[in-house]
């Protein structure tokens, strides 16, 4: 299904919102840096950096890929692992 707006219209409508959200993320990361202590080894920070890399690449489906970055892995053998009764 096509988007009714063309790309220049989308950018015109959303530029300030994108700018504001990027600043919010930048300020949050600055705040982490200014605060005492270190979270350098916290796996959540690594996830954030993975997500930022997705934002900056030229591929599509950024939202879906960022969702997957923050998701636990799926194991197709989970029913055997749980020893659930077979149907």
């Amino acid at each position: 299904m096509p988007i009714p707006l063309d790309a220049p219209e989308v950018l015109q409508r959303e530029f300030l919102e994108i700018r504001a959200r990027l600043l919010q993320v930048a300020a949050s990361l600055d705040r982490l840096g200014r605060a005492e202590g270190s979270v350098a080894s916290d796996p959540r920070l690594a996830k954030i950096h993975e997500a930022l890399a997705i934002l900056a690449d030229d591929e599509t489906d950024r939202a879906e890929r960022i969702q997957l970055t923050f998701s636990r892995a799926y194991d197709s053998q989970w029913q055997a692992t749980f020893k659930l009764p077979a149907k």
Binding site: M1, P4, L5, W78, Q79
Partner: protein, 278 residues
């Protein structure tokens, strides 16, 4: 525009919310059974809850000419208690023929544990044996992708189930495709932080089309917005989508899905709103 909120927990909301929703065009809603914020201690606690859902909420909604429907189950968080869950599942059929009961829900997973999966399967068995529709909760945040895939495995593993009579709720960008590809209905929940925004929901409409797609507020006792569906309607208009497409998602689709339930006695608002109050 008239609309239907297919997933909202009105037992957690005040009467003023019914009035506000009615003023904003809400003419119908369905309320799945869910977690009360604490684990209930006995099957009698659930019996009282089901009475509240099937008796008082219907009446309270009716004060504002909103038609209220409900779904029954023990939710995934309390499913960790296997013995209580089985007592509740055994008791549910007492209520299945009551007016406005649409089926079994919201069942699902929370932390994707063995006990949750066991009780999910037992709910599916009840739904299959009683020919009920099913409404499904998918987990939050980092557990959503894994849990949704597990839920789809269990649904697709039961050949008795008609996929067109199952609604999988709280889909997001990384789960919607798999749900729709298997022939299930998909619900997008509009939550301030932890689920989907109106703008992202519009994106998913554009990417996947309106077929078998619903949008809901899931308003409850936590941070949530019962008027989120009107927010979605406005976001669709601002994006330039026609009223016919918006109406299909917020009114025609829920009515079409719920019409598969024998207890869905919906009266169109053009008739219902002008009938004398009973």
């Amino acid at each position: 525009m008239y609309y239907f909120d297919p997933h909202i927990h009105m037992v957690s909301r005040v009467t003023d919310d019914y009035e506000m929703l009615a003023k904003m065009g809400c003419v119908g809603m369905s309320e799945p059974a869910f977690w009360a914020g604490f684990d209930r201690g006995s099957v009698e606690g659930f019996r009282d809850y089901f009475r509240q859902l099937t008796e008082f909420e219907t009446k309270r909604a009716g004060w504002y000419r909103v038609q209220h429907y409900t779904w029954l189950c023990i939710n995934a968080k309390e499913a960790e208690n296997l013995s209580l869950s089985r007592e509740v599942i055994k008791m549910i059929p007492e209520f299945l023929d009551r007016p406005g009961v649409l089926g079994i829900g919201e069942i699902g997973l929370n932390k994707n544990t063995k006990n949750e999966a066991t009780i999910f399967l037992e709910h599916l068995d009840l739904a299959a044996k009683t020919d009920e529709q099913i409404l499904i909760h998918t987990p939050h945040l980092e557990d959503k992708y894994q849990g949704t895939r597990m839920i789809l495995d269990m649904l697709c593993g039961d050949r008795r189930l008609d996929h067109g009579r199952v609604l999988v709720d709280h889909v997001e960008e990384h789960t919607i495709r798999a749900v729709l590809d298997e022939g299930f209905w998909a619900g997008m929940t509009l939550y301030p932080v932890s689920k989907c925004t109106p703008e992202r929901a519009v994106d998913m409409v554009e990417m996947y089309g309106p077929e078998r797609l619903l949008v809901n507020s899931a308003g409850d006792w936590g941070p949530s917005k019962p008027t989120a569906v009107p927010d979605f309607i406005l976001a669709m208009r601002l994006r330039g989508h026609p009223e016919s497409l918006i109406r299909r998602i917020v009114y025609d689709n829920p009515v079409k899905f719920f019409s598969q339930s024998r207890n869905f006695d919906f009266t169109p608002p053009e008739v219902y709103q002008t009938e004398p109050m009973g």
